[in-house]
């Protein structure tokens, strides 16, 4: 039992954790509630990933293949952990399929939920067909054609609104979702590549293309792809008489309110805590932090831990996270879990 690690969630973090466990010679049991592996990048049909530029299907697909082909990983799809008990070295989990899993450690790679744009009705999602989310734009890019959903025309002007469901005390989202600035700059490039006649505007409060994303995405989208960055948060979206959308904002440079016409508006949606988190917290006996993400055990000496010894976590379960950092955290959580099991075995 002490050489088995239960991994919950098969997104980038969970796939990475399971592969790390198995590659080190331990057994991994991977439980995924959906019937396909890959998590958000696959389920939401992301296009090219930041920062590699590889298609999500290929990059995450490679991770999936490694996991599915690995002799030391058993995968349970369409399954959830319903009951969980025990202590480090001997946990027992009952799955919704009726099966029981015995494991020495557990890694929660349970990820996030995309912000639902209907929670900001003034921005027109659900009211106007030509208001879509970044997930939908990713799918559009992956399909190879940029069009307005209302009538199929190629948009002349596209607006991407940042911080939809992030940095907004009005709706209790008091966090930065970290990835949307870079994702939006990347999408602006992809839109321009597919539809050179389309002009792309990004409306922002701050641009947070942190670290090495600055020149590769923020600058590149401006310098090479002529994306226009406008410092303004849009107040409302209405329809104009000619079927286009009207964005109401303030030109913060000339300090006057303005109305700007657009053909297509994209909400750069943030990362909410996984909707399942309250249930997960109860099942696994762990604590959530005040935003609703998983509580980290301790920042400096136990960064992969939760509030329950032997239960670890990684990736967006802890808060908004990039794909590449989620993968790194998955590997880190696996190392920590195996190290703790190793210590237990030596002591026992």
């Amino acid at each position: 039992m002490q050489d088995t690690v239960l991994v919950v969630g098969a997104g980038p973090a969970g796939l990475s954790a399971a592969a790390s466990v198995a590659n080190a010679g331990y057994q991994a049991v991977l439980v995924e509630k959906e019937t396909v592996l890959g998590g958000a990048p696959i389920l939401s049909g992301y296009a090219k990933l930041v920062p590699s530029g590889e298609w999500a299907k290929e990059a995450i697909g490679r991770m999936i293949h490694n996991v599915e082909a690995h002799p030391r990983i058993s995968v349970h799809k369409g399954a959830q952990v319903e009951r969980f008990g025990g202590e480090p070295g001997q946990f027992s989990a009952t799955l919704s399929t009726g099966q029981t899993v015995s494991a020495g450690a557990t890694i929660l790679a349970t990820g996030f939920t995309h912000f639902d744009s209907v929670n900001k009705p003034e921005w027109g999602f659900g009211t106007f067909e030509d208001v879509i989310t970044t997930s939908q734009m990713e799918q559009m890019v992956a399909s190879g054609k940029i069009t307005c959903p209302s009538d199929g025309r190629v948009p002349e002007r596209v607006a991407i609104l940042l911080c939809v469901g992030s940095r907004d005390r009005q709706i209790g989202r008091e966090w930065c979702s970290k990835i949307c600035c870079t994702v939006s700059a990347n999408l602006a490039i992809e839109i321009k590549e597919l539809s050179p006649q389309t002009e792309v505007f990004i409306y922002y409060m701050d641009i947070r293309t942190f670290g090495l994303y600055e020149d590769r995405f923020y600058w590149k989208s401006q310098e090479e792809f002529k994306t226009k960055f406008v410092k303004a948060r849009i107040a409302e979206i209405t329809a104009s008489g000619d079927g286009r959308l009207l964005l109401k904002g303030e030109d913060t440079l000339v300090k006057r309110p303005i109305m700007i016409p657009f053909d297509l508006v994209v909400h750069a949606i943030g990362m909410d805590p996984n909707l399942d988190n309250p249930r997960l917290a109860q099942t696994f006996g762990i604590t959530l932090q005040h935003h609703g993400y998983l509580e980290r055990a301790e920042f400096y000496t136990n960064p992969c831990g939760t509030t329950r010894p032997g239960v670890y976590a990684c990736g967006a379960a802890y808060g908004p996270e990039t794909i590449d950092d989620s993968i790194a955290q998955g590997a880190a959580a696996a190392s920590r879990a195996m190290a703790d099991l190793h210590a237990l075995a030596k002591a026992g």
Binding site: E122, C163, R167, D168, R169, Q170, M205, D206, K231, A232, R233, I234, A235, E236, K248, G249, E250, D251, T252, K255, R256, P257, I258
Partner: protein, 226 residues
């Protein structure tokens, strides 16, 4: 023009208001307040500018904004409903207006003077508008339609089949007890004091009215006791 010390005092008073910290958490200049502000569409007024101005601590510019700009706000509080920080620029304006009144700024007196008639009605009866206030002179923007309500107000009023609306000098029948209670509220919340600072004559008229009503109420109470 006020001297520098006076302007500093005004700024200090604004920040000392117990609501100040609650109305202003932080600001990233996103402009959503100004974008959504109905007054900003028509006037040289911007809620974002008010927030930023208070942060600069430039007491001359703040004093300048209190001359005219702050009175362009309609107090609809859409800015507060939209601000991602949950600031309330409209709430800051409310504080600035109260401070302008407390300091007896001439600009405040000038801006508030046209509201004397409404103030009289509001403070004495709790009604903002009554049928007898609808006079041709006061509503030039109504054009010739105003003639339709002139002259036979009582008859027109009777045509409205709701019992409480058979009055012409108030919008509804005002209870004496409620009025007297309301006067206590005006007094205790400092409304009457503000009024006195802005318009001494109007204040005298209103105070006489209030005294009369209070006497009337006392008499009524005595009658009931007998």
């Amino acid at each position: 023009m006020a001297n520098y010390a006076k302007m500093q005092q005004i700024y200090a008073d604004i920040r000392a208001d117990f609501r100040y910290e609650h109305e202003l958490y932080g600001c990233l200049n996103c402009g959503i307040c100004t974008a959504t502000c109905p007054s900003a569409q028509f006037y040289d007024y911007s809620p974002r500018e008010i927030v930023q101005l208070l942060w600069t601590g430039n007491v001359e510019q703040i004093y300048d904004a209190m001359q005219e700009k702050i009175w362009a706000c309609a107090q609809c509080m859409t800015c507060a409903a939209r601000c991602p920080f949950k600031n309330s620029p409209g709430g800051l304006v409310a504080i600035m207006r109260e401070i302008a009144i407390a300091h007896e700024m001439q600009s405040a007196k000038d801006v508030l003077r046209p509201f004397g008639r409404v103030m009289l009605k509001l403070i004495t009866t709790g009604n903002q508008l009554s049928p007898d206030m609808i006079q041709p002179d006061h509503f030039p923007d109504w054009g010739p339609n105003i003639q339709k309500v002139e002259g036979n107000l009582r008859t027109l009023r009777k045509a409205i089949p709701v019992k409480t609306l058979q009055t012409v000098d108030t919008a509804w029948e005002v209870s004496l007890k409620t009025s007297v209670e309301m006067y206590t509220i005006w007094e205790m919340t400092g409304v009457l004091k503000s009024l006195q600072l802005m318009d001494e004559n109007l204040f005298d008229v209103i105070e006489d009215f209030i005294d009369e009503k209070r006497e009337e109420y006392e008499e009524w109470l005595e009658e009931q006791a007998e």
